[in-house]
């Protein structure tokens, strides 16, 4: 049926399906894959000198703490995220419309900044114990600088990932299914456990995976609270023990844990990918809460907002007020400009790369190119510290080669040419946040469908011409979302920036971390507030733009 396939015919078919776009896609994929490839190849160099020390004294600690973090943060973020999503999508109560998007705002506060604020709130000399004692209540504060404290703080900072995906799932399933359930005599809580929750499970799991990726990526909060995790271990191995191979081995274990989690999520979802057709979406009819129920629901929904946003923000504003004269100077404004500039450049470069990765694979017919392009967006699952190490190793090697070359042939001592440049930092952000930009661009592109570009092609437009004339104008919302999301993520990013930033350049995140590390946590407030206000504005704008 398919005829005989000689080598010549196979080659001619390859020529038919391979285009310059295939080459560009492969090239871009390979550039993005450098850090992961480097870590994988470096594993073959064997463990480092300190590996024995790490396995004997530290590895158990890393493993147990990380597992505790995974379980603890999962339970707490599910509790905060799912309950608030359920109440705002099913019940009508005073302030619901505002709470719907205010519940997302803790995402504007990086987890390490929430951690700083909580020390200031509940430590023995913290704001709440002092205010309590002044009011005659003998409250000595709570020691949060430990593993359970870290779980609590990370959960407050990260529950919006679960909240957002779950709320969308609840809103989509509302309508006829609920009407049918209620007609069959189910009470609202029975409908929740027997219909709504099982249907929302894939969305809840997807949100939870994002939480866990962030938990495993966290360096600032864990370091500040003195909890040993894999990420703090990677930093310690590289910078304190000066053993890159041990850092690489720890990275490999952490990546294995992450892929096991991703596999588990995929496995639980294998037959549960429900798609609710439009016929079920008859609009949501919320239950009007009355009396005590109304107060109870509003109280439950306010808890994560109060502890995840209002209290830490209040503490930071207080610190900001008492320290601004010491912190605010010309250097501060320069740092703000640096941060915004780097975030903007990174957001634009990453969105451009995402656009290329969405479109170039569909511009050629080479089999396997689409999964290859999709796999290039796996960076978000890999902690920033690992990506940074995966970039440092080849760039340091390239720098060494260049220094030797210039010395030998031109007798010029150039110093580091590649490392410590903004270009390397922007590249690292692109690798890490590509999927953040890819998802909205891909979603917008799928919404356009294939018939519009095909019509354009039939009418004589080239592929780039079609992209320019037809697709780009229609992709506007997706592109703006992508730029805004990456901008926010870059502004908050800490571990990768700490490792890769140019020596003379400071960012808001690094400055806040620096103050907190130097026991000047109150001074960390102003850079933190800058990040929070900017992120909050972007989150509000994105919420308005996309409706989710």
């Amino acid at each position: 049926m398919t005829g005989k396939w000689g080598v010549g015919k196979l080659f001619r078919r390859f020529r038919r399906d391979f285009s310059s776009w295939s080459a560009w896609t492969l090239l871009l994929g390979m550039i993005i894959g450098i850090p992961v490839f480097t870590i994988a190849v470096s594993l073959f160099n064997g463990p480092g000198q300190m590996w024995g020390h790490v396995t004997q004294h530290l590895l158990d600690d890393y493993l147990i703490n990380t597992i505790f973090l995974i379980i603890g943060c999962s339970l707490l973020t599910l509790l905060f995220g799912v309950s608030s999503a359920w109440f705002v999508s099913e019940y009508d109560f005073p302030g619901r419309r505002h709470l719907e998007w205010i519940l997302i705002l803790p995402l504007a506060i990086p987890a390490y900044i929430t951690a700083y604020a909580y020390k200031g709130l509940f430590g023995y000399l913290g704001s709440i114990p002092i205010l309590s004692r002044q009011a005659g209540i003998p409250f000595q504060g709570i020691d949060l600088m430990n593993l359970p404290g870290l779980v609590f703080v990370l959960s407050l900072a990260l529950y919006p990932y679960v909240y957002v995906s779950t709320r969308v799932a609840f809103l989509r399933q509302a309508g006829r299914l609920k009407e049918v359930s209620l007609l069959m005599g189910l009470k609202p809580h029975q409908y929740f456990f027997r219909v709504a929750l099982p249907l929302a499970r894939p969305a809840i799991a997807a949100g939870l995976m994002l939480v866990l990726m962030e938990v495993l990526n966290d360096y600032g909060a864990a370091h500040y609270y003195g909890v040993n995790t894999f990420t703090t271990g990677i930093f310690r191995s590289w910078f304190s023990l000066e053993d890159p191979q041990t850092a690489i081995y720890l990275s490999a274990i952490l990546v294995t844990i992450i892929f096991a989690l991703l596999w588990a999520e995929k496995w639980q979802r294998r037959k549960k990918s429900y798609s609710l057709t439009a016929q079920f979406s008859t609009g949501n009819h919320r239950i009007r809460a009355r009396g005590k129920t109304k107060a109870g629901i509003a109280g439950i929904v306010l808890i994560p907002v109060l502890f995840g946003f209002i209290l830490p923000l209040g503490q930071l504003i207080y610190w900001g007020v008492i320290t601004w004269t010491r912190v605010l100077d010309a250097q501060f404004f320069q740092m703000v400009l640096h941060s915004f500039g780097i975030a903007l450049i990174s957001a634009l470069v990453t969105t451009l790369a995402a656009l290329m990765l969405v479109y170039m694979p569909s511009w050629n017919r080479l089999q396997g190119i689409k999964p290859f392009a999709r796999s290039a967006t796996m960076g978000y699952a890999i902690p920033g510290a690992i990506i940074a190490i995966g970039i440092l190793i080849p760039t340091l090697a390239a720098d060494k080669f260049l220094i030797d070359f210039m010395n030998e042939y031109f007798s010029i001592n150039t110093g580091l040419i590649i490392n410590g440049t903004i270009a390397v930092l922007v590249y690292a952000y692109m690798v890490r946040f590509l999927t953040v930009a890819y998802n909205p661009v891909e979603a917008a592109s799928l919404k356009i469908g294939k018939h519009l570009p095909e019509s354009s092609r039939l009418l004589g437009s080239s592929r780039p011409g079609t992209l320019r004339k037809i697709e780009l104008p229609l992709l506007k919302t997706g592109l703006v979302s992508a730029v805004a999301l990456v901008f926010v993520d870059v502004l908050k990013e800490l571990p990768m920036t700490l490792i890769l930033k140019p020596y003379q350049v400071n960012t808001l995140a690094v400055k806040a971390y620096g103050y907190a590390s130097d026991e000047m946590v109150a001074e960390a407030a102003l850079p933190s507030l800058c990040i929070i206000v900017t992120c909050a504005i972007f989150i509000w704008y994105l919420n308005k733009l996309t409706g989710t």
């Binding site: 017919r365 095909e454 039939l458």
Partner: protein, 250 residues
């Protein structure tokens, strides 16, 4: 003279495990109106996409005006095939006006050409409207004008009658016949409703499970059906006509 030839065409989307089109042979005469008839999933749209060059084929050959357009190792780009296509969802560019949609395929915006097309589709005065400001019937006519403006040798229409009520269907049939006569274009339309095919097409091609089961002049096929599928279609059509006539008579 045949304008389109398809020989031994096979197409699979799962590396040869199942074929959506099997051993297709077609000869399409220039200037005639053809209907491609078959149930949902019979491979009609895929065949259109292969002819338009939007998909590569697995094996076989597609010739247009004696030029080899597609085979196992060759895929001439869609715009070099002299084909105009109207998609089932029309695919009008939502951010462009009617006038810009129509002139999209022209190298330069040509007001006279656009005006000529607007007169043809009876939408003068609508040039500055956007697609969402038009009724479905008007959108359909804009999509046809956009495909025609590049003077295609073959015009492919994917289910042009599917979203229209009976009055609009009749109007569109008349319009398509006018266009076919005026532009001398070979017209190839997909339909799952054999009544539409009988109303407009001179020749028919019946597709079932990815295979051509009958092809030829519509009257010949219906007067002497060779396959069970066409016999059953004819039977259903006759019964439905008899039922309507008896109602009218009653």
């Amino acid at each position: 003279m045949n304008i389109l030839e398809v020989q031994s065409l096979y197409k699979s989307f799962d590396a040869g495990r199942t074929y959506v089109l099997k051993d297709i042979h077609l000869s399409v005469e220039e200037g005639k109106i053809y209907a491609l008839i078959g149930d949902s999933g019979s491979g009609k749209t895929t065949l259109f996409r292969l002819i338009a060059g939007l998909e590569p084929l697995d094996t076989g050959t597609i010739w247009i005006k004696n030029k080899r357009m597609s085979d196992e190792t060759r895929l001439v780009p869609p715009h070099e095939r002299g084909i105009g296509m109207v998609f089932q969802d029309l695919a009008l560019f939502p951010h462009l006006t009617v006038s810009r949609n129509i002139s999209f395929g022209l190298a330069d915006h040509d007001d006279d050409k656009v005006k000529e097309m607007l007169i043809l589709i009876e939408l003068e005065g609508y040039e500055n409207r956007y697609p969402h400001q038009l009724s479905i019937g008007q959108q359909q006519r804009v999509a046809i004008a956009r495909a025609l403006v590049i003077n295609p040798e073959i015009l492919l229409l994917d289910e042009p009658f599917s979203n229209l009520d009976e009055t609009l269907k009749q109007a569109l049939r008349g319009k398509l016949l006018t266009i076919a006569n005026r532009f001398d274009t070979t017209m190839f339309l997909i339909t799952h409703d054999v009544r539409d095919a009988l109303a407009i097409a001179e020749k028919g091609i019946f597709l079932q499970d990815g295979e051509v089961i009958e092809q030829g002049p519509m009257d010949t096929i219906f007067n002497n059906p060779q396959s069970g599928y066409v016999r059953s279609v004819k039977h259903n059509l006759t019964r439905s006509a008899e039922h309507i006539l008896s109602k009218l008579g009653g």
